[in-house]
């Protein structure tokens, strides 16, 4: 019967389509890198990783999450190596035996962005802690990442240094987005709120609305990225040999030069570590 044939045909088509191997998925060796949304959003990896794959025939699969989530992926042996930016947490990660070692790879800086109207006058202040003090004093809207990411940890450290506990004000002028950097910037733009952003994400972020860069250059806003391979003693399945090829390459002159040469709209986003 004709309809039987029709339906059977449709079934085969779906089956064939679904079971077909995905095009171009040749099984090259690969490692899985957990990194931060800021690095992913900046476009650095698309500049950097194809060169590594060409040099060594190894693919790098990037899973972009917050630093907190990246460390958890490492603890659970779900990734091979981390490239994150929360030095204290990374050192603790290594000390607890989850990571083999930690090396500085590159750095840039955080900046405080906010509405052009700048109700708290942050643009006239040079110090990050003083700026946060002014924001708290004016009860000006401040949007926190609130997601245990590297940026969030940095922001918390700055509040502590300023002697302010904004947690008490959560829900009033202090808002916790609980989201990635990009989503937080989208929200801050809509709310015309201050927020702490990393330079990579900020430069590649196009939906700025009323937001503008108000404060940068304070040494306290230094943003250090570190490479941490997951410890094969903790995770026997980890591809530690491929990871060390990647680590050596990233810290080699070639890797470091490539990092330094990445520009977005003419501006460098990351500086290699000497």
């Amino acid at each position: 019967m004709k309809n039987n044939k029709l339906i059977r045909l449709a079934g085969y088509m779906i089956l064939a389509l679904s079971l077909a191997p995905s095009a171009g998925a040749e099984q090259r060796p690969y490692i899985t890198l957990a990194s931060t949304t800021s690095t992913e959003n900046s476009g650095l990896f698309e500049h950097l990783l194809p060169a590594f794959s060409t040099d060594h025939g190894i693919d790098v699969r990037v899973v972009a999450v917050g630093t907190g989530a990246a460390l958890e992926l490492g603890r659970r042996c779900d990734v091979d190596v981390l490239l994150v930016h929360a030095k204290a947490a990374e050192e603790q990660f290594v000390a607890e035996g989850y990571g083999s070692w930690r090396r500085d790879v590159m750095y840039n800086d955080f900046l405080i962005v906010g509405p052009r109207t700048d109700p708290a006058g942050v643009g006239r202040i040079g110090s990050a802690t003083a700026a946060l003090g002014a924001i708290a004093e004016h009860k000006a809207a401040f949007l926190s990442r609130g997601d245990d990411s590297g940026t969030h940890k940095k922001e918390q450290a700055l509040w502590r240094a300023a002697g302010i506990d904004p947690g008490h004000e959560s829900g009033t002028w202090y808002r916790e987005a609980g989201s990635g950097m990009g989503a937080t910037l989208n929200t801050a733009s809509a709310m015309a709120a201050y927020t702490l952003a990393d330079r990579g994400t900020w430069l590649s972020f196009t939906n700025r609305g009323p937001l503008t860069e108000l404060l940068a250059g304070d040494p306290a806003l230094f943003n250090q990225y570190g490479l941490v391979p997951v410890n094969p003693l903790h995770c026997p399945g980890v591809k530690h040999e491929l990871v060390s090829v990647f680590g050596d390459w990233l810290l080699s002159e070639r890797g470091q030069t490539l990092i330094g040469s990445y520009r977005l709209n003419g501006e460098p986003l990351f500086h290699p570590n000497p």
Binding site: A10, L17, A20, A23, T32, A64, S204, G237
Partner: protein, 234 residues
């Protein structure tokens, strides 16, 4: 309004460009969701039919659970499947995390209750009409199930489509278990999330429009097949 028109022209440009990245993302989306729906139908149709036809203790509870599971939050499913396939989870040995297979599993979990619940309803209603005739013919239980599934095929197709709609459109589960890895597990919805987080709202919206078009095309195709078949065979 301006954002929307920019998004619309971006979408049109993207479609006409149809570059390899977009093709890859669209293909993977379809592969993952179609496979998930196919497997979910293999499970959901017989389970739904069984619950619709059998009388057993706790049946109402099972029905309530199936209906409730239709609204399962994708993030929760993603988290559960992540814990399952994580390298330190019970299925860690299979190395499924951050692979399309993990995404298929997650979507399967999301879609199976939808197909099962709608199948249950369809088969139960149809059985009310058919039961006496089938009993009169002396149909065995398995024959009964097959007959009801076959004769309910047009309604069941709608159930499967509803499942497909949910699978292709969800992001919460696949982004957790797939990791949104470029060229490996990046699908339409995770791309939209990524572009949104970059602030590329018009590109994100354009991808969304393409997703809607895909969904629309799939529905139209099925409705077309169904109408032709229905006109001929009722």
């Amino acid at each position: 309004m301006q954002d929307l028109s920019v998004a619309l022209s971006t979408a049109v440009a993207l479609i006409f460009d149809w570059d390899s990245d977009l093709r890859e993302i669209v293909t993977l989306s379809l592969q993952v969701s179609l496979t998930a729906v196919f497997i979910a139908a293999l499970i959901g149709l017989p389970v739904g039919a069984a619950v619709g036809l059998l009388h057993f203790r706790g049946r109402r509870l099972v029905i309530a659970a199936m209906n409730a599971l239709m609204g399962l939050p994708p993030v929760v499913v993603g988290l559960l499947v992540y814990l399952l396939v994580s390298n330190s989870g019970p299925l860690g040995e299979l190395q499924l995390l951050f692979s399309p297979a993990a995404m298929v599993i997650a979507q399967c979990v999301l879609v199976t209750p939808i197909i099962a619940a709608l199948t249950r309803q369809t088969v139960e209603d149809l059985n009310e009409e058919y039961a006496e005739y089938l009993r009169s013919l002396g149909a065995k239980p398995l024959q009964r199930v097959v007959t009801l599934l076959w004769d309910g095929r047009f309604s069941l197709l709608t159930a499967v489509l509803a499942g497909f709609g949910r699978a292709i459109a969800e992001v919460g589960a696949v982004i957790i278990v797939g990791g949104n890895i470029n060229h490996v597990t990046r699908v339409m919805t995770t791309s939209i999330t990524l572009e949104t987080s970059k602030g590329n709202l018009s590109l994100a919206l354009a991808l969304g429009l393409i997703l809607i078009c895909l969904s629309l095309l799939a529905n139209l195709a099925v409705i077309g097949v169904r109408d032709v078949a229905q006109r001929r065979y009722g």
